[in-house]
């Protein structure tokens, strides 16, 4: 049990990470979390002194892309941090144990670290018929409720756990619901995105380790450090938007010139995320930089706002797919016809009134 007393830093040294790399990591994380430069010392001190953060990571209705994103982080220390240090006491996908051993591991953690462990949820929870997602003979809802009861805080990873993602998209056959609808009376950190950016996930974990408190959240429960600005406002193509220079189709001259993707459905103007700043894969690129419009994957119900490559969301009214503008135009035309008919009828029906005059 000696291992548990090692601090994050000691653990890193054991893994062969140099002090220099450790400090680089702390500096990068401090910058990422939006702390001032003196915050580096705080982060270093915390990671030097604090030991493991007990974690239960639950997988429900999801594709594991959040975990995938996390393991592909650019900082090797992060992997250490998560897999050895914050020590996943329970994670169906990554743990070595299985079956009853795994179940036991989870219960041990829940007992031993009562009120201390962090519950991380990846995936939505079915409520229509709870049997849609069962692990070890119990439903996702039961497991989540039990695990949350004595958790210190809850982190909802990704769009599934935050707002249901594709499972909760219309018609939502399993009645999938996000963590916030199931887990009550616990602070929930909503780390949005499909998946969230690896560095953002790391930033949230480091914040928890460093300060022992949940980071400042916006009105939708997302960490402000990463989700307070729209993709649109940090987009390097923004100047083209203001100048009215738009890509019309994926293969036109304007696309080649790198104009704004607004007209081919970019959701940047209504999406809050750090893609434009932190980017993906060690800051290599992000969708817009690669010429693809933002899908708005860190917003609630983004699947239901199809088609992705058009500005106008489609309405499934009367079984016919149409945009609000098409329906509006049709109603306008119907109104015009109604007005014309009424005008004609007026001249017939109100003849007395109209001719009510004396010579």
């Amino acid at each position: 049990m000696n291992k548990e007393k090692l601090s994050v830093y000691e653990e890193c040294l054991k893994k062969g990470v140099s002090r220099r790399d450790f400090l680089k990591f702390c500096t990068a994380m401090t910058a990422m979390m939006g702390l001032e430069s003196t915050g580096v010392a705080q982060v270093v001190e915390a990671l030097e002194k604090k030991s493991r953060l007990p974690v239960i990571w639950l997988h429900f209705q999801e594709c594991t892309c959040c975990s995938e994103s996390f393991v592909r982080t650019s900082h090797p220390i992060l992997a250490t941090l998560l897999f050895d240090q914050i020590s996943l006491d329970y994670d169906e996908t990554l743990m070595a144990a299985s079956g009853e051993q795994a179940e036991k591991s989870m219960h041990d953690t829940m007992e031993k670290y009562k009120g201390e462990y962090i519950l991380m949820v990846e995936g939505a929870i079915p409520t229509g018929n709870e049997a849609y997602c069962c692990i070890g003979g119990r439903s996702a809802k039961q497991i989540a409720e039990e695990a949350a009861a004595n958790a210190k805080a809850v982190i909802a990873w990704g769009n599934c756990a935050v707002s249901g993602c594709v499972q909760a998209a219309h018609p939502n056959p399993t009645g999938a619901k996000p963590a916030k609808k199931i887990i009550k009376n616990k602070p929930i950190i909503n780390v949005q995105g499909c998946p969230p950016i690896a560095e953002v996930m790391a930033g949230v974990v480091v914040h928890l380790l460093t300060f022992g408190t949940i980071p400042q959240l916006d009105s939708l429960g997302r960490p402000k450090a990463f989700y307070s600005r729209r993709v649109h406002d940090t987009c390097y193509r923004r100047a083209n938007f203001d100048a009215g220079l738009f890509v019309q189709s994926f293969d036109d001259e304007n696309a080649k010139k790198g104009y704004c993707l607004y007209k081919i459905g970019c959701r940047g103007p209504s999406t809050y995320n750090a893609c434009g700043i932190i980017k993906w894969n060690e800051g290599v690129s992000y969708p817009i930089q690669s010429g693809h419009p933002c899908l708005g994957c860190s917003e609630e119900g983004f699947w239901d706002n199809s088609p992705f490559y058009k500005r106008k969301p489609a309405l499934n009214a009367f079984g016919i797919e149409a945009t609000a503008d098409q329906i509006g135009l049709a109603l306008g035309a119907a109104t015009a016809v109604g007005i014309a008919a009424h005008a004609v009828a007026t001249n017939i029906r109100k003849k007395d009134l109209i001719e009510n005059e004396v010579e």
């Binding site: 009105s219 939708l220 738009f246 708005g296 609000a324 007005i339 007026t346 029906r349 009134l353």
Partner: protein, 239 residues
């Protein structure tokens, strides 16, 4: 010479503030719809220029936002005038909380819309149907202001838009709020069509000068209708 067989009396119905409100509002709605349409679906401009040289889309958005402020304050003023203005502008006209209003509403439906009844509806200001539609319109105004300023709040550091920061979380995200904002625009367009037609219709059959009343403020009301209205008011029954 053709003349009407009834004696008409001039009644000052729409006070100057109401008329100013009406025209500022009309202008704002036209500007907001046009710029709103452009923002939703910008014109296709194929240009070889660098973005540095132009800012037209930025200008369109700026006009939309400035007009939105004008629209909001104008609307707020009209609510105030619903308490300060004359009886034709008062809030009591718009909220259908009395039986007489509902009765007149169905009368208007039968007389002016379905045209199955001949007896004219004798209201001096708005008739009950018009008032009811304006009541709905005011809600649409409010919702449009809420969704619009809710979307704007994130871009602004100033006090007023920040009063609306709670709107976006209420609907779950910008996408939904933008959608509601877009759909409501169509309500304004449809309203404007019907509104202008009905003004012409009433002027055509009633000849009370309803079209010019929103410019000069005066309507011409039949002597007996006015007398009856006065009598009702004395008894405290008037709408």
């Amino acid at each position: 010479m053709n003349t009407r067989d009834k004696n008409l009396v001039g009644v000052y119905v729409w006070e100057l503030p109401v008329r100013i409100f009406h025209w500022i509002n009309a202008l704002c709605i036209v500007v907001l719809c046009v710029t709103g349409f452009l923002i939703g679906d910008p014109l296709a401009i194929m240009s070889g220029n660098e973005a540095y040289f132009s800012y037209w889309f930025g200008v369109v958005r700026m006009i939309h936002f400035i007009t939105a402020f004008a629209f909001l304050f104008n609307f707020a003023f009209r609510i105030y005038w619903g308490f300060a203005g004359n009886k034709y502008a008062g809030w009591k006209n718009f909220i259908p909380y009395r039986k007489a209003q509902w009765k007149e509403l169905f009368e208007v439906l039968q007389v002016d819309i379905m045209m199955i009844k001949k007896k004219p509806v004798e209201s001096i200001g708005h008739n009950a149907m018009a008032s009811f539609i304006y009541f709905a319109l005011f809600w649409a105004f409010a919702l449009q202001c809420l969704t619009g300023f809710g979307l704007y709040a994130q871009m602004s550091k100033s006090f007023l838009p920040h009063l609306f920061v709670w709107v976006v979380p209420l609907f779950g995200g910008d996408l939904m709020v933008r959608y509601i904002h877009h759909i409501l625009m169509w309500f304004f367009i449809l309203f404007a069509l019907v509104h202008v037609y009905l003004v012409f219709y009433h002027d055509y059959i009633e000849r009370r000068g309803v079209t010019s009343s929103i410019i000069g403020g005066w309507k011409f009301i039949e002597e007996d209708v006015l007398a009856e209205d006065d009598a009702k008011e004395k008894k405290g029954e008037a709408i």
